[in-house]
């Protein structure tokens, strides 16, 4: 028997808006409202709003916070100023990726960590185990927050005007009041567009959602979230990252600072020095076909990799993906084929990101 699916504070709002609800990481979440393509384009050209309340939040507080986080996660947490944010990874001793996270510094000795829904419980166990060695207080605060991502070129100005709040800079966090309740506004996202993520009181989430939608922000589901993040070449844990993959192969060496002594640092240092057999690389299908996770990557008669994320790109109007490839083939420009259910589709390794306005 499957466990009962959890619902976010916006569940009724999604149903009323005609959202198509699907199971995702133990939650019942909207995959789309009026169509993934339209929602995707709305975020690229205007502004979209996503319910990401399924994501977890863990608060870390106390005099040992910094030393605890330096041990726990891969990036150099000492570089985050109060009001700043940083991408980081949670590794096991073997350097496998338990989760990828955002760390926000709320005060001198106070941090908030945002986790992926499907990994939140595992993360909490790891946080708890490591916390025993440090003078910190770790709390699961997921139930205290609804989380809305408002993304797109017009996202910031709409949020600022409608909610009468001051916004943090990109990669920052600011405490504000929204709906007369304490809230956090984060200058982060998962779409490759400018925007904010709002951590707000669950009770006011439906009203805030409606206010932004009435102001023209387009409701978006997890389908568009996936196509947007893949165009931006952001990793999805469970697809592109797992406890069996390491950050160096995944192209996330930039988020690992071994001198901080994080769990798994020795392994990462060895991989960085010695190189890895495989590397994660983005690719574009040159003609017809849509790659999907699990598709083999082939060169002549040889299998040289496997697709971990694949979809149709609404911005590029063709199939795109990311695949772990034999390291010598992971350079942009390399021609390969993807075996899509028995049909070979011509593909070319690309540079990151796959889509960018600046191009």
């Amino acid at each position: 028997m499957e466990a009962e699916l959890r619902r976010t504070p916006l569940f009724d709002t999604h149903v009323e808006a005609g959202g198509k609800l699907v199971p995702f990481a133990g939650w019942e979440m909207p995959v789309s409202y009026d169509g993934i393509k339209e929602e995707h384009i709305a975020v690229r050209t205007h502004a979209g709003i996503f319910d990401v309340s399924h994501m977890g939040q863990i608060e870390v507080e106390g005099p040992g916070s910094l030393r605890f986080l330096q041990r726990l996660v891969t990036n150099d947490v000492s570089k985050i100023a109060v009001g700043g944010a940083q991408y980081s990874l949670l590794l096991n001793e073997d350097g496998g990726v338990i989760d990828d996270l955002f760390v926000y510094r709320l005060g001198p000795d106070r941090y908030l960590v945002v986790t992926n829904a499907g990994n939140h419980e595992t993360d909490l166990i790891q946080f708890g185990l490591v916390a025993r060695e440090f003078d910190v207080y770790v709390r699961d605060v997921s139930a205290s927050y609804a989380m809305l991502a408002v993304q797109g070129p017009n996202a910031r100005r709409t949020v600022a005007a409608q909610l009468h709040v001051e916004l943090p800079p990109r990669m920052g966090v600011k405490a504000q009041r929204i709906g007369n309740r304490p809230a956090l506004i984060c200058g982060t996202g998962y779409t490759g567009e400018d925007g904010v993520e709002l951590l707000i009181d669950p009770d006011i989430a439906p009203a805030i959602w409606s206010e932004l939608v009435d102001a023209g922000v387009v409701p978006c589901g997890l389908g568009a979230r996936d196509t947007l993040r893949l165009e931006a070449c952001f990793h999805l844990h469970g697809n592109d990252l797992s406890a069996d993959t390491d950050p160096i192969s995944a192209g996330l060496g930039w988020a690992c600072e071994e001198e901080t002594g994080f769990i798994g640092a020795e392994r990462i240092a060895a991989l960085r020095a010695g190189g890895t057999d495989e590397r994660l690389a983005p690719f574009v299908i040159e003609g017809a076909g849509i790659p999907r996770p699990g598709n083999p990557v082939v060169l002549g008669d040889e299998t040289v990799g496997e697709v971990t994320s694949g979809t149709f790109s609404p911005s590029l109007d063709r199939g795109i993906g990311m695949a772990y490839l034999r390291s010598d083939l992971a350079e942009p420009g390399t021609a390969l084929e993807i075996d899509v259910r028995g049909k070979r589709r011509a593909a070319r390794v690309s540079s990151k990101p796959l889509y960018s306005k600046e191009r």
Binding site: S32, I36, G223, D226, A288, G289, I290, R292, F312
Partner: protein
Amino acid sequence: MAEASYPEDLKYHPEHDWARIEGDEAVLGVTWYAQDSLGEVVFFEGPEVGSEVTKDQPYAEVESVKAVSDVVAPVSGEVIAVNEALADAPESINADPYQSGWLVRIRLSDPSEVDGLMDAAAYAASLE
């Protein structure tokens, strides 16, 4: 089209495919229900002209952003035309599943198979 629709002049297969019988030929496609479940179709690649399709067996795939779905033949026959316009406009399968969104035309190899298909009322009832 936004609202469910199952034309009276078509025959239906439980795997959400339709057939328009025209003498010893048939035009095949997917139903409103199928395209609505799949979401926006972004890719269709048909079989080769001259190939055979077999009743109850998949003969093509339609893909949306999120998913790929087999298209099952409601009746058997030889493919005599494929809707080439879908290569550039696969969204026709959503917008107009019974007219411009048709998939293939076949020459029936066993016209008696048509008797096993559902009419519009029976198919609509099967979706309840």
